[in-house]
Amino acid sequence: MAIKKVLTLFGALAMAGVMAAPGFAQSPVKIGAIYPLSGNAASAGESAKAALEVAMDVINNAHPELGDLTLAKGAGLPGLKGAKIEIVFADNQGTPAAGQNQALRLITEEKVHALVGAYQSGITLTASAIAEKYGIPFLSGESVAANLTERGFKWFFRTTPIASDIATTYMAFLKELKAGGRKVDSIAIVNENTEYGTSIAKVLREAAKESGFNIGIEIPYSANTTDVQSQVLQLKDKKPDVVIFVSYTSDAILYMKTMKAMDYKPPVVIGDNSGFSDAAFLTNVGSIAQGAINRSAWDIGKPGSVTYLINEMYKKKRGVDLDDTAGRAMQGLLVLADAINRAGSTEPAKIQAALKATDLKPNQLMMGFRGVKFDEKGNNTLAAALLIQIQGNRYVAVWPKASAAAPLLLPYKGW
C-alpha cells in the first residue's frame, strides 16, 4: 500500500515534469521596464513605453519587411523555441526611490528575467544597483551619466553613447566652427542638477579644457523649477558665444519661452537631447527655437527604409514621430532580446554571457550606431551620435557633413 502510494506520487511527478517541460520552453520571457509614467517626465516615459511596445511587436511577430533588423524576420525568439517576450512596465514616478522599489518588485515578485530603463540617469543609478545585487541583467538604452558604468557592476550594460562620447562630439563640432571663423571664446553650460545634468556638465568641462575652450559660465538649476528668468538674465548679461542646455522637458520649454520674452538669442544654442528631443518640445516651442542644435543617433530616413517603417509603426501608437531618446530605449530592448535569444535560456548568467558576446553590425540596428559591442565596463564601444538642428517644424541632420541632410544654419535664429 505504502509502496503503491509512493509509486503513484512518482508517476504524478513524472507526468507533471513531462507536461511542464514544453510549457516551460514556450513560456514568455519577462522583461521589466522602468520608466517615468507619471511625474514631470511622464511625456518622455510614455514615448519610451510606446517605442518598447513597437519593439515587442517587431520581436514577437514576423516582420520580413524590416530586413536585417535583429529578430524582425520570424515570430518570437528562435533560440527559445519561438518564445515571445512580455514587457512588465513599472512607473518610476520620477524619483530614484520609486525606481529602486520598482526594480525590487519586478525582480522579486514579477520574476522578470532582465530589466531595461530607467530614462533619468539618477534613477537608473538606483534601479540598476538592485539588479546588480540580485544578479539580473540591466540594460539601459538611454541613460548617459558617466558614473553609471564606473561602479564596477557586472550586470549593467548600455547601448547609448555616454557623456564622454557626447562631449567629444560637441567639442569636435565647436572646433570646426572655430576653424570656420566663428567666435567660440566662451561657452555657458546650463544644466539641471540631478545625475544626468551634473554628469554631462562635468564631462563637458573636462573636454572643453582639453580642447582649449573656456567655460565662462556654469548654471546648475533644479529641473522642476517654476521660473528661469534669472538664469536667462545671467546669460544675457555675460553674452557667451555658445550656450549648452542639459535639460528635461518642462524646463527646456520654460527656457525657450523665457528667452523669447527676454529677447535673448545667443549665437549658438545646443540642447543636449532629453528635453530638446521630447516630441512635446517641438510642438510647444519648436517655432521659437529655430536653429537649436541637438545630438541624435536617430534618422527617420527615406520612405520604405527600415527606420521609416519603424517610425510609421510608432506613429500609429503615439501620433508623433519617434524621437531619439525613445528610439535609443527601443534599440536597447532589441539588443537585450537578441542576447536572450543567443543565450537560448532565461538564466541570468547565460544572458549576461550573451550580452558580453554581443557583436551587432550597423545594418542589424535601427539607430545610427557603428554597431553594438560592449567593453568590460558595459559601455557600447561603437555608439555614435550626429548633430541635428531645428529647421522649420522638424529636426534635420546637419553635422558631420558626411551625414548632413541640410546645411547648418547659424547664428541661432530663435523665432
Binding site: N40, I219, D227, S230
Partner: protein
Amino acid sequence: MSVTILQLVVSGVLLGALYALFASGLTLIWGMMNVVNFAHGDFVMLAMYTTFVVWKTLGLGPAASVPIAALLMATVGIVVYFALVRHVMRGPMIAQILGTFGLALFLRYAVFWYFGANFLSLPDNLVGGTFDLSGIRIPAARLLAGAVALLVTAGLHLLLTRTALGSRMLAVAEDQVAAQLMGIKPHQMQAVAWGLAAGATGIAGALIATFFYISPTVGETLVIVAFVTVSLGGFGNVPGALVAGLLIGVIESLSAYWIGPVYKDIVVYSLFVAVLWLRPQGLMGKT
C-alpha cells in the same frame, strides 16, 4: 548692470504676481474656512486645460477662456463641496487631508488618462508680445496676469470685509453653531466659499496658461509655493497673500541671479521659517 537689477525686480514682481494669482482661492478655503484643499493645484491645472480646449476648439483667447474657466471651476468647487468636503469635514482633520489629497490624485490621473502626459502650450502670441521699456522686458501675458491678480485680491478682500455675504461667510468660519442661530445656513455659505475659491482658480489657470506650459503635473509643481504664500501672508488675510507672493517672487529672482538658481529655495524658505518664528500668524495675519 542697473538695467539688469531693475529687470530682475520687474521679473520678480511678475513672478510674484503669478504666485499670488495661483494662491488666490487657497486663502479663502484654507485661510478662512480652515479646510486644507490639497487639490488646489489640480483645480488650477484643470482650468489650464479648459483654457487649452477653449482655444483649440473655439479658437478663442483669455477674453473667453477666463469667464468660461471661472464658471466651470466655480461649479466644480460647489460640486466638490457637496459631494466630498461636506462629508469629510465631519471627520477628523486627517479625513480632510486624505479626502482632498485623494481628489487631487483623481483629477491629476483623470487628466493623464484623457489628455496623456504630453506637454501643451498655447501659441505665445495669444496675448500679444512684450513691452520694452528702455531695455526692461515686460511680457504682456505676465503683465495681464499680474493686473488680474490685483483685481482678484481686491475683489475678494472687499467681498469679505464690505458685504453682508462676506460677513456671513466669516461668521460661519468663526462659529458655525452661533452663525446657524443667527439664521445663516452654514452649508450654503461654505458652498459659496468653495464656489468663489474655485472660480478664482479658474481665472488664475486661464491666465497662467497663456505663458506657462500645461501638463497634468503642473499644479503639483506650483502648489507648494501657494501654500507658502498663504501662510507667509497670514491666514485669513487676502491682501497678505498678494504681498507674500510678490515678496517671494522678488527674493527668488534676485537670489537666483546672485547666489544661483539651486539656492533660491534655501533663501525663500529660510525667510519663511524666520517670519513664522517671529510672527506665527504671518506677515499680515491677525493675532
